[in-house]
């Protein structure tokens, strides 16, 4: 009797435990999916912020009387910033697609679809300023 009682109790506690774990996994994986698929965007923002700070430092430390030097440094920062941005964007997209492919192979279709949806939002955000520029200028 005890055993019967204890068994269902144990079963219940096991099933609750595994349910909670699965829920946690789902919750973690949502954050992980967002972290992974939003990476092209936030890494670009990070690169942009670094470029902006470097430009401000250039403007602050090189006076206008050395305008030509200031311009060369601007151009160097821009070219490097653009190169880093392109590399970061490409790598983060490839990484995200590799992970999404793995999820799909492992029958995590829900996560894979969510990842694709976030990437679609990223692509839309990338192109949004250009579309806005067509109408608001």
């Amino acid at each position: 009797m005890k055993r019967l009682q204890s068994e269902p109790e144990n079963n219940t506690s096991n099933s609750t435990g595994s349910f909670t774990r699965a829920e946690n996994e789902d919750r973690i994986s949502i954050w992980y999916i967002l972290l992974l698929t939003l990476a092209p965007l936030y890494l670009l923002v990070l690169v942009g912020a670094i470029v902006f700070v470097l430009i401000l430092l250039d403007r602050h430390f090189i006076s206008l009387t050395n305008f030509v030097l200031q311009q060369y440094i601007f151009i160097a920062i821009m070219i490097m910033g653009m190169a880093v941005a392109i590399i970061v964007y490409t790598l983060s997209i490839n990484h995200a697609f590799r992970k999404i492919g793995m999820w799909r192979q492992n029958s995590h279709a829900k996560q894979a679809n969510l990842g694709l949806l976030v990437l679609a939002i990223v692509a839309s955000i990338m192109i949004l300023p250009i579309i806005l520029a067509l109408f608001i200028h």
Binding site: P40, F52, I55, R59, L64, T65, F67, V68, Q71, F74, I75, M78, M82, A85, I86, Y89, T90, I93, F97, I100, G101, R104, Q105, L116, L119, A120, V122, A123, S124, M126, I127, P129, I130, L132, A133, L134, I136, H137
Partner: protein
């Protein structure tokens, strides 16, 4: 090897295309702004001596940011042949031009007894390279010219210092002059030819079919040079020039800076108490062409305006 699902390929394509477009847009916007601010200055090919005029090379510093500016001081010629700087006009050229822009008109004014201080604005001619500000940064150049006339080493010491200072600005030079006169009472009267009321009015015709780059160029300019073109609004300061007189000239067929700009500037200037505003809409004249279209009338009207508005002691003339 697992086959890549179609949805992945479509999404990857979308991301690549949007990424390429975004990078091209940002690169083009930055390039436009850097090119505009680093255009090689137009060389100076004539001097006042080509018009038989006496002149001296002068150098002075812009107010506030101390850039080295180069120009000419051309004394006026009185009817008796004597030279004078009693009434001196600071002449401010337009964008992507230099101090020789309207030297023929300068020569006509000089022969009517008006001295001319004409100089290369920042980034133009032989003056120091610097970002262009559509008249906003250039106001410091005009103020530097005022400082030079008031306290700089005069190249004609025997003629003394000017008793009255006027200004004549063309296109963005006119906007620089409006900004400078609004804060410098030493500029006693100004003539502004083909200036915009707000830079926003000027941007769309200036970019033409590349208008899509206006927002990108705006933010690039803000980041690189700390200037937001939407803040450049001479119309907001022109009323501060009163009671000093303002003469606004505009080509009726101007497609770069349309005539409504003059209407806006005039309406705001006239709103000040004791305002003295004159306007002249020159028929069939495109941007900064009025002085060549009606040259004699143009010179006569400028001379009449400055002789009337720049008061000096009669024995100086």
């Amino acid at each position: 090897m697992a086959r890549i699902p179609r949805s992945h390929r479509i999404m990857k394509g979308f991301l690549i295309i949007s990424g390429i477009l975004a990078f091209l847009y940002v690169s083009a916007s930055l390039t436009i702004v850097i090119i505009i601010n680093n255009l090689p200055p137009k060389p100076i090919t004539t001097t006042p001596s080509s018009f038989g005029l006496n002149y001296r090379n002068v150098t002075f510093l812009s107010r506030e940011d101390h850039l080295l500016l180069r120009g000419w001081l051309i004394p006026g010629i009185l009817p008796n042949g004597r030279l004078t700087v009693a009434r001196t006009i600071i002449q401010v050229h337009g964008e992507d031009n230099n101090r020789a822009m309207v030297l023929d008109i300068d020569a006509s004014l000089v022969r009517q007894g008006l001295a001319i201080l004409v100089f290369d604005s920042r980034g133009s001619g032989e003056s120091a390279a610097a970002p262009k500000g559509g008249g906003y940064f250039e106001q410091r150049d005009v103020l530097g010219a005022v400082d030079f006339l008031r306290s700089g080493p005069m190249p004609y010491p025997e003629l003394g210092r000017p008793q009255a200072i006027g200004g004549w600005g063309i296109s963005v030079g006119g906007d620089a002059l409006i900004y400078a006169a609004a804060q410098e009472p030493a500029i006693q009267a100004i003539v502004v030819d083909s200036a915009y009321a707000t830079m926003a009015e000027y941007m769309e015709p200036a970019f033409g079919k590349f208008f899509i780059f206006i927002p990108g160029a705006r933010y690039s300019e803000m980041m690189l040079y700390g200037l937001d073109y939407t803040d450049i609004r001479p119309v907001d300061v022109i009323a501060r020039i009163a009671p000093r007189p303002v003469f606004l000239i505009q080509g009726a067929a101007d497609i770069s800076i349309v005539p409504s700009n003059m209407t806006q500037l005039a309406a705001t200037a006239e709103s000040a108490p004791d305002a003295h505003v004159q306007t002249w809409l020159v028929p069939n004249s495109n941007h900064i062409q009025a002085y060549h279209r009606v040259e004699n009338t143009y010179v006569d009207r400028l001379v009449t305006f400055f002789n009337t508005e720049l008061n000096i002691k009669s024995d100086s003339v």
